[in-house]
């Protein structure tokens, strides 16, 4: 029998649910540590019905849009500037690569001291976790534009800002969207770690609240929500734009 990709995936998902349910039935761990799929589903329904989850999602999304938006703006600008100015590129390279290896949550103590326990601190952490990944991808993409394409653009009269608008920016668009997708996943991870360590509403805090109340159903339900939001943006929003562009560009 032959299955298409979607039915394989659904079958595997059902299999996972079954294993989960089986482990639950075997009573290896107490119910409060290992709830059944149905318990978690009920918590999800309750969470959405009481608007608790919706408020958490709204707060987290507001933060990520703000933090990610600022990162996108600054990171892109910085990427173009570094690609353009050789000495700046060479001078900053080790700093940028070094800072990029620093897990974003390491910025939290500094952010708390500078800004205090507030929104600014958490958005700062998101920005620091995201901005350089976008800078690096924009810089790489701009440097990778084939010189022949630039020559053709110049020969046809595109100079200065026109060359950026008509040639360089469209040329890097597919890799730019890939960079944005990675940047978004950095931002999402930074935000979740920030929200968990530093109590201030949002999905990360709902997750920690589940822990404090010994409510494993809530922990798992919130994890599922976090996964779903991640999949929604990475695969559906950015993934689809990326695939569409690549098809159109023929790459």
């Amino acid at each position: 029998m032959k299955f298409n990709k979607a039915s394989k995936q659904i079958l595997f998902f059902l299999f996972l649910l079954f294993v989960w349910w089986l482990v639950y039935k075997l009573r290896i761990w107490p119910v409060w540590l290992f709830p059944s799929p149905l318990n978690v589903f009920n918590t999800l329904v309750k969470g959405f019905a009481s608007k608790k989850f919706l408020i958490g999602i709204a707060i987290s999304l507001k933060r990520i849009f703000l933090g990610f938006g600022i990162s996108l703006l600054l990171g892109t600008t910085l990427g173009f500037v570094i690609a353009k100015i050789k000495w700046l590129r060479e001078a900053t390279e080790p700093f940028i690569l070094g800072l990029q290896t620093l897990p974003s949550i390491c910025w939290l103590p500094l952010a708390l001291l500078w800004f205090g326990l507030n929104e600014t601190a958490i958005i700062f952490v998101v920005i620091m976790g995201t901005i350089l990944s976008i800078t690096i991808s924009v810089k790489g993409a701009v440097m990778n534009v084939t010189p022949a394409l630039l020559n053709v653009g110049r020969m046809l009269g595109a100079k200065g800002i026109d060359l950026y608008k008509q040639v360089i920016f469209p040329a890097i668009l597919p890799s730019y969207v890939t960079g944005i997708k990675h940047g978004w996943s950095f931002a999402w991870r930074s935000l979740m770690s920030g929200e968990m360590l530093f109590i201030s509403a949002g999905l990360g805090q709902l997750l920690m609240m589940g822990r404090e109340l010994n409510d494993m159903s809530q922990v798992m339900a919130v994890m599922i929500v976090i996964i779903l939001i991640g999949v929604l943006f990475e695969q559906f929003v950015f993934g689809n734009i990326e695939r569409g562009l690549r098809r159109k560009w023929g790459v």
């Binding site: 084939t146 022949a148 394409l149 020559n151 053709v152 653009g153 020969m155 046809l156 009269g157 595109a158 026109d162 008509q166 040639v167 469209p170 040329a171 668009l173 159109k248 560009w249 023929g250 790459v251």
Partner: protein, 252 residues
């Protein structure tokens, strides 16, 4: 004189020092003349085109071009995100010409290169020959007075190339452009050119200029074309052998 190249010298810097590319090159082209440059690879014939196009500056000597130049490369290098019609319109859009005017002109040039009906296609949907035609239309639409072509058909298959020879001769007849055409294919040069200039091995200089006084349209299989090609080949062979010898001594 549409184009006058006066005693050009040009060298490049690479890892092992300064490499002279062109030495005392002088060439003139009359209004509407089709001049082909042939020579062994690396002889600097492409550099000469870049100099004429103004992409590079000669070390000494001068280049006078009456009017604008348009340069076409071996690779079509189309903008992959633009449809055929927008690739062709690119230069006019950058120059902020009126949209309805642009559509008219694009239409004319697409007809000229036989791409009517492909306006809405993207470059990756086209064959190599079609891409090169888009590149030609995109260059011609800028109304260059001198069209510079750097081995534009080298990457095409033999059949497509022969079709392109016929089309280019026809386009040249219709537009009366000055064309300077670089190739390493002697037959191609004889089919297309009014004159064929043979380059020496590096540093390139013009060894001999052949006049091709044959009726058009010419074909790659015409006996007269083959005869003149053989003469030019004799001249060229010495230079190619020099290049081979030089490579051998380098290996030792």
């Amino acid at each position: 004189m549409k184009l006058r190249i006066n005693n050009i010298n040009k060298s490049f810097r690479n890892d092992s020092g300064i490499v002279p590319a062109l030495s005392n090159v002088s060439l003139e082209a009359k209004e509407g003349e089709f001049v082909c440059l042939v020579g062994p690879s690396g002889c600097g014939k492409s550099s000469l085109l870049n100099l004429v196009a103004g992409l590079e500056v000669p070390d000494s000597g001068s280049i006078d071009v009456q009017g604008k130049t348009g340069l076409m490369f071996q690779e079509p290098t189309l903008f992959p995100w633009l449809k055929v019609k927008d690739n062709v319109a690119f230069g006019l859009k950058v120059a902020k010409k009126d949209d309805t005017k642009i559509d008219e002109v694009v239409d004319y040039f697409l007809k000229l290169v036989h791409l009517k009906g492909f306006e809405e296609a993207y470059p990756h949907e086209l064959s190599g020959g079609m891409k090169q035609r888009v590149a030609l239309a995109r260059t011609l639409i800028m109304k260059p007075d001198v069209l510079l072509m750097d081995e534009p058909f080298a990457a095409l298959d033999a059949q497509t190339r022969e079709i392109m020879y016929r089309e280019l001769q026809e386009i040249w007849r219709l537009t009366k452009k000055n064309i300077v055409f670089v190739t390493h294919n002697v037959r191609e040069a004889v089919v297309l050119g009014d004159r064929v200039a043979v380059f020496t091995a590096r540093p390139g200089s013009i060894k001999k200029v052949f006049k091709v006084d044959l009726p058009r349209p010419r074909d790659i299989g015409d006996l007269e074309v083959i005869k003149i090609s053989n003469e030019i080949n004799k001249e060229l062979k010495e230079e190619v052998e020099k290049v081979i010898k030089e490579m051998e001594t380098h290996e030792v």
